[in-house]
């Protein structure tokens, strides 16, 4: 009897102790958060994380009592994660926004309206490229502040060019020169291709479409895929694959792998790929970047830029705004460029990015924003962008005429846009 009673008492004590510890832990956490504000910052590029962490540390040093937690989710899953978080009311306090998704979030009250904050603190939005500021302006209100911009450049293998006795690409290059160079650099026996022309929109054929006077989205918000100029540009771009000057390439990783292994001599890539290029010894030693070739003097490049936005339901709007305005201030934007994170959007800070890395001729990217065309977007961009890849696939491989593929894409795109 006694033993049993002892055991029962012990058991009860353990239960009470466990409950106490749990309660105390909860209490401890609560007391920490009463003194300290923790802001979560959602991003999708793990390569930018180290640099942003440094900037966050600087901010924390200047603002004791606020801690910044970086949350990195890969591009492929970022929007799925964000949407789930938005529906469930647990968005990060601050997070990256993109032209593809700004309308959806902005028009559904998921983002904090920044108008009064901008006015109160006299933030000068004219210091940012107007095109980018406009992207993040939905229904006359500003919902995000531009963070950076990116353009597209032509990467080329200097060694392979030297071996073939070719001059390096520069701003005088035209569609014809690109084509000629690709032909010279292609060697079937060696399994070498002149160029890797990936089935990619922003980094690939969009640039050529606009250079040819075509468009992806007309001013009337209909698809531009079936315009003759667009089809012509697509035919030019796909011809590299059709004529054996480029391998078929469907992902960034594949394209880069072709370059890294000396299989292709050229490829068009966005400026955000810089960290990936710096990571690879072969690329650092043998590659450099040049402006895109032009057509009849038209050297348009697609440009885009991320914005920083704040959760509409954040518990700490003042602190979140403090961090956001910090990120958007000139010194921090310059520091971000210096750290090589990305080309900062604030006027005059892009130069620091050029100097951040002397391996490559990065000036090319910054100069190209002069002839920049904002990446085309609508309210639900992702849907038709992805379906476009599906529909252009056969034409890319030469199994269907480019005209047919483009017209099917236009039809699909118009259907989705009309449903938005």
């Amino acid at each position: 009897m006694e033993k049993k009673r002892l055991r029962t008492i012990l058991r009860r004590m353990v239960i009470v102790a466990t409950l106490l510890v749990t309660a105390l832990q909860g209490g401890a956490l609560n007391s920490v958060s009463a003194q300290e504000v923790v802001l979560t910052y959602g991003i999708w590029d793990s390569r930018q994380e180290p640099g942003l962490r440094e900037i966050a540390d600087d901010f924390e040093a200047e603002n004791p009592g606020i801690k910044i937690e970086l949350q990195v989710t890969g591009w492929g899953e970022y929007w799925t994660m964000l949407e789930a978080a938005a529906t469930g009311g647990s968005l990060p306090d601050i997070f990256w926004m993109h032209s593809n998704e700004i309308y959806k979030y902005g028009s559904n009250d998921m983002l904090l309206n920044l108008d009064e904050y901008i006015e109160r603190d006299s933030i000068d939005l004219t210091k940012f490229p107007q095109g980018l500021v406009d992207i993040y302006n939905v229904n006359e209100s500003q919902y995000a502040i531009p963070k950076d911009f990116d353009t597209i450049g032509l990467w080329y293998n200097k060694t392979m060019f030297d071996e073939a006795g070719l001059d390096y690409p520069d701003e005088t290059w035209t569609w014809e020169t690109l084509r000629e160079a690709a032909e010279i650099l292609t060697d079937e026996e060696k399994g070498q291709y002149g160029i890797s022309a990936q089935l990619s929109n922003q980094e690939g054929y969009y640039n050529f479409v606009y250079q040819n006077g075509g468009t992806i989205l007309t001013d009337e918000r209909t698809s531009g895929y079936d315009l003759p100029e667009t089809i012509e540009a697509l035919e030019y771009y796909f011809s590299f694959v059709h004529d054996g000057l480029s391998p078929e390439s469907y992902t960034d990783t594949d394209s880069r792998a072709f370059l890294e292994n000396g299989i292709a001599a050229m490829a068009t890539f966005g400026s955000w790929q810089l960290p990936a290029f710096l990571d690879n010894e072969y690329l650092v030693e043998n590659f450099d970047v040049a402006p895109l070739p032009s057509k009849d003097g038209n050297s348009t490049t697609i440009y885009n830029g991320l914005g920083n936005a704040i959760d509409a339901n954040t518990e700490n709007p003042e602190e979140a705004w403090l961090f956001l305005s910090y990120l958007s201030s000139e010194p921090v934007q310059r520091k971000a460029s210096e750290l090589g994170i990305a080309i900062s959007a604030y006027e005059g800070t892009a130069e620091a990015w050029i100097d951040s890395n002397t391996e490559f001729n990065l000036k090319v990217y910054v100069d190209m924003v002069e002839s920049g065309q904002i990446r085309p977007y609508t309210n639900e961009t992702t849907v038709w962008e992805e379906k476009a890849y599906e529909l252009l696939n056969a034409a890319y491989r030469g199994e269907q005429s480019v005209e047919e593929g483009a017209k099917a894409t236009a039809e699909m795109m118009n259907q989705f846009i009309s449903q938005e």
């Binding site: 929007w79 799925t80 949407e83 938005a86 529906t87 959806k104 559904n108 998921m110 089935l199 078929e248 469907y250 992902t251 792998a257 072709f258 292994n261 299989i263 639900e380 992702t382 849907v383 992805e386 379906k387 890849y389 599906e390 696939n393 056969a394 491989r397």
Partner: protein, 297 residues
Amino acid sequence: MGVGSKKSTWAWGYGMIAPTIIGLIILNIIPSFQTVYYSFFKTGAFGKGSEFVGLENYSRLINDSQVWQATWNTIRYTLLVIPPAIIISLILAVLVNNIKGKSIYRTIYFLPMVAAPAAVTMVWRWLYNNQFGLINQILGYVGIGPINWIENPSVAIYSVAIIGIWSTIGYNMVLLLAGLQEIPQDYYEAADIDGASMFSKTVNITLPLLSPQLFFVSVTGIIQGIQVFDVIFMLINPSMPSYPTTVSLVYLFYNNTFKYSDRGYGSAIVALILVIILILTFIQVKLQNKWVHYMGE
């Protein structure tokens, strides 16, 4: 004693199963009904502003050639994976049953089940890589040209099926092995006395007595086959030429629900998947009487 203890026994019973039942209801049963409910709506972003559209999602479903292509892809995947997986695992189970070190082999074959499907697929993706993958390297030594396992539309289905078979062999084998060990040795001894061949013993003793396990393995296998997603999702993306011939119904559901935010349509797709699985399971259960022999009958 008496009435009192019977009531408390019931109470204990219900109490024990309560957590599982509550979990099932909240996480499985209610969402199933919700999904069917959503399929009659065109959902707005973030769950707001959904409008009732009746059968519109379903009529769109019937007319969508991609849905029928995905249905065929899914059925073809199931056919490519389940029969070979069962046959191979049956052979393995029989072999392992008669070896020393049974538990070691059992562990080794079961290991694939323990690995996360995403991790498994990433490794296979590297193996299958056209330029640098291990498989093509080895084939290269034997003089066979590189095969584009992932992007070639005609080959991709088989690449996906191979991963599927590889993953499920272990699970099937463990179940079949347990079933084999239940078969009394007396039957085999009696057959030996009668001079039966290995083949005859297998067909007349092993298979019939193993049929309950075989039935279970085939029913669960088919249900899992129809729901295939991870492998295809991680291996093939919509811009690849192999996408149309491999995209499964669940992959299509994922794209529509999460990427394109069209939850209503995604729910309709799920309803289709449910109907397919119900029909297939019903057929199998009916056929059960023909070929499954439960011991003791």
